[in-house]
């Protein structure tokens, strides 16, 4: 065994990257095109389709809604998911096994069914306002990811560390914040990013829960494509990509740093 990767391995890795990157390159290219229709390679270079996003008020509104829903939904899911994951791992022996499975169940149900079920139970049955329904729907949608990812982090956490801190005089709740949380920091960051992106990009659940006057960006993109075939769709997609990356960077920096400062 040499310590340098095999040429075939390098080639395969390169191919995988190519496959992953190619659609992105095409989308970015199409967004920059000066034409009034979607095309690749771009003909002429222009930012007019990016300007067009903000000229259309429906895009402006849905971008804000999507960000609000994704942020609040992710925070809510973390607020519920972190304690849930903690309890599931801390009391693994004492708790029934199916309880853990309960939190993964929504992933197993086809999203479209999940969305429909939410429509039936939230909007139709009880008349919850659209924004609240969206928020609840997205929180539930991302909760399983949060619980999973943080559970994975906690699975390798040695709870005798927590007991050591408590025996040294640190109250249990305080110990959770000063000892447990810093050690699953990476999991929390990963869960945040995964949940945020899942929510931001969701179509199936939002499709059922959006209504008059309130929509999310992906739903608005669908609506737009039905009527127009201009590169706005591509430029919105690029914007969505950049938003996602920006969130990842910001979360890494802020969550990473605040935890380190403790």
């Amino acid at each position: 065994m040499s310590d340098r990767p095999h040429p075939i391995l390098i080639a395969v890795a390169a191919l995988v990257y190519l496959f992953l990157m190619l659609p992105l390159v095409i989308v970015v290219g199409a967004a920059l095109s000066d034409t009034t229709y979607l095309t690749f390679p771009p003909q002429g270079l222009s930012l007019r389709w990016f300007e067009n996003i903000f000229a259309i008020s429906a895009f402006r509104r849905t971008i804000v809604t999507s960000l609000q829903i994704a942020f609040t939904g992710t925070l809510l899911a973390l607020l519920i998911g972190i304690p849930a994951a903690y309890a599931l791992n801390r009391f693994r022996v004492e708790l029934p096994k199916w309880l853990g499975t309960l939190f993964v169940l929504p992933i197993l149900v086809p999203e479209i069914v999940f969305g429909f079920a939410l429509l039936k139970s939230l909007t139709v049955g009880t008349g919850v306002p659209i924004f609240a329904a969206l928020l609840i729907g997205h929180t539930l949608l991302v909760l399983p990811y949060v619980v999973r990812v943080i559970s994975a982090s906690l699975a390798s956490f040695d709870f005798s560390i927590e007991e050591a801190a408590i025996s040294l005089g640190s109250a249990p709740v305080k110990t959770f914040f000063t000892i447990v949380l810093p050690n699953v920091r990476a999991g929390v960051i990963a869960a945040f990013i995964l949940a945020f992106i899942t929510s931001l990009n969701d179509v199936s659940v939002s499709l059922f829960l959006t209504g008059p006057g309130i929509s999310t960006l992906p739903i608005q993109i669908l609506a737009h494509v039905e009527q127009f075939f201009d590169p706005t769709v591509a430029s919105v997609s690029v914007l969505l990509m950049f938003l996602t990356v920006a969130v990842m960077v910001v979360v890494e920096r802020t969550l990473g740093l605040t935890f380190l400062a403790k």
């Binding site: 040695d158 560390i161 050591a164 025996s167 040294l168 005089g169 050690n183």
Partner: protein
């Protein structure tokens, strides 16, 4: 700062399973007591009860007159040292040691001073800024020890602190622990399943079995005068032979078992009941080829070499016994011999059903 610990008739359950039954244990101020027993006998459970991570279903726990039974674990002021060290991975060695002081609202400069001083005592001052992940097992356990000692707890508890270390380090560390404990005079409870470790480090040892205390005494007493067959077997009295008294003559007692009679003095063994068990280690049964010897007739089986003696598996009318024979005359399997008990190496136990 040193205080006595009292467990009074403590029982504990996991769900409906009883894991500790009616356990009473008094540790004197400044004493180091070991809990010794096979895996699963309830040693860790006992520590968790004292530390407060588990509530007893009956009984009470007192530390220096303070009733701990209902006190939450973070208010108990007990130093704990774990088998897997349990250092805080995200804190430096110094911050690990200073953690307990921080909880006690000691100002930062003072914390630093005391933690550094404690690290010096365990010989790790040079590694104060390291992350725990970058330490060897022995160093980690020293940090854990420093972290527990620096809060000057009235009670220190160790749960198999050395079992992740190699044999040589284990012996060095236990001497170190004992010296630190002695010089601080901290009352200590030490859990181990290693008999040599328990006997060498402790003032007294509590031998446990299946959630019960079998005997609690000085190592010397446990080793020479086990109180019951369980402890006897545990400390190496492999031969336990049932006897019946056939006559008494003042302090002398004559007793028999299938194939042998013995005369025993109550001045040596204490009061001898009508039926009893005679327990010896393999060294306490002399292998004699003299047909006139007064001993238990036996057929020799497998012979093994121990370095200081040969050991024989023997079949007798009193069952399977183990005896050591001299190195000068190795004997073959199948030889008929007499096994002669050496009085000063025997001890007498009440029969199991009499207890």
């Amino acid at each position: 700062m040193t205080q006595p610990l009292d467990l009074h008739a403590v029982s504990a359950h996991y769900g409906t399973t009883k894991v500790l039954e009616d356990l009473s244990l008094s540790v004197q101020a400044g004493e180091l007591v070991s809990l010794l027993g096979a895996s699963g006998c309830g040693k860790t459970t006992t520590l968790r009860l004292i530390a407060g991570f588990l509530s007893p279903t009956a009984g009470s726990i007192q530390l220096g007159g303070r009733d701990l039974t209902r006190l939450p674990p973070h208010k108990r002021d007990i130093g704990l040292v774990f088998q897997n060290y349990a250092l805080f991975p995200h804190l430096s060695v110094l911050d690990n040691v200073a953690f307990g002081l921080k909880q006690r609202d000691i100002p930062s400069a003072e914390r630093r001073k005391r933690a550094t001083a404690m690290l010096e005592r365990v010989g790790l001052a040079a590694l104060a800024d390291r992350a725990p992940g970058a330490l060897s097992g022995g160093q980690k356990q020293r940090v854990a020890l420093a972290r527990a000692l620096v809060i000057e707890p009235p009670l220190l508890m160790f749960d198999e602190p050395l079992s992740n270390l190699d044999a040589k380090l284990r012996v060095d560390m236990r001497v170190e622990i004992r010296q630190l404990q002695r010089s601080n005079g901290t009352t200590s409870v030490y859990v181990t399943h290693d008999q040599e470790e328990a006997f060498s480090i402790s003032d007294r040892v509590a031998i446990m079995n299946a959630g019960r205390l079998m005997q609690f005494d000085k190592p010397e007493v446990l080793y020479r005068r086990p109180a019951n067959p369980f402890v006897a077997r545990f400390v190496g009295f492999e031969n336990i032979i049932p006897f019946k008294v056939i006559s008494r003559d003042g302090e002398m007692v004559t007793a028999e078992t299938a194939g042998m009679t013995l005369r025993l003095s109550q001045a040596v063994y204490g009061a001898i009941p009508d039926t009893f068990l005679l327990a010896t280690r393999p060294d306490g049964l002399m292998v004699s080829t003299d047909p006139a010897a007064k001993g238990l007739p036996a057929q020799l089986g497998l012979r093994t070499y121990l370095g200081r003696a040969y050991q024989y598996q023997c079949e007798t009318s009193a069952g399977h016994l183990v005896a050591n024979g001299s190195l000068t005359t190795p004997l073959e399997a199948g030889t008929g011999v007499k096994l002669v008990p050496v009085p000063e190496q025997c001890t007498i136990l009440a029969t199991e059903d009499a207890r």
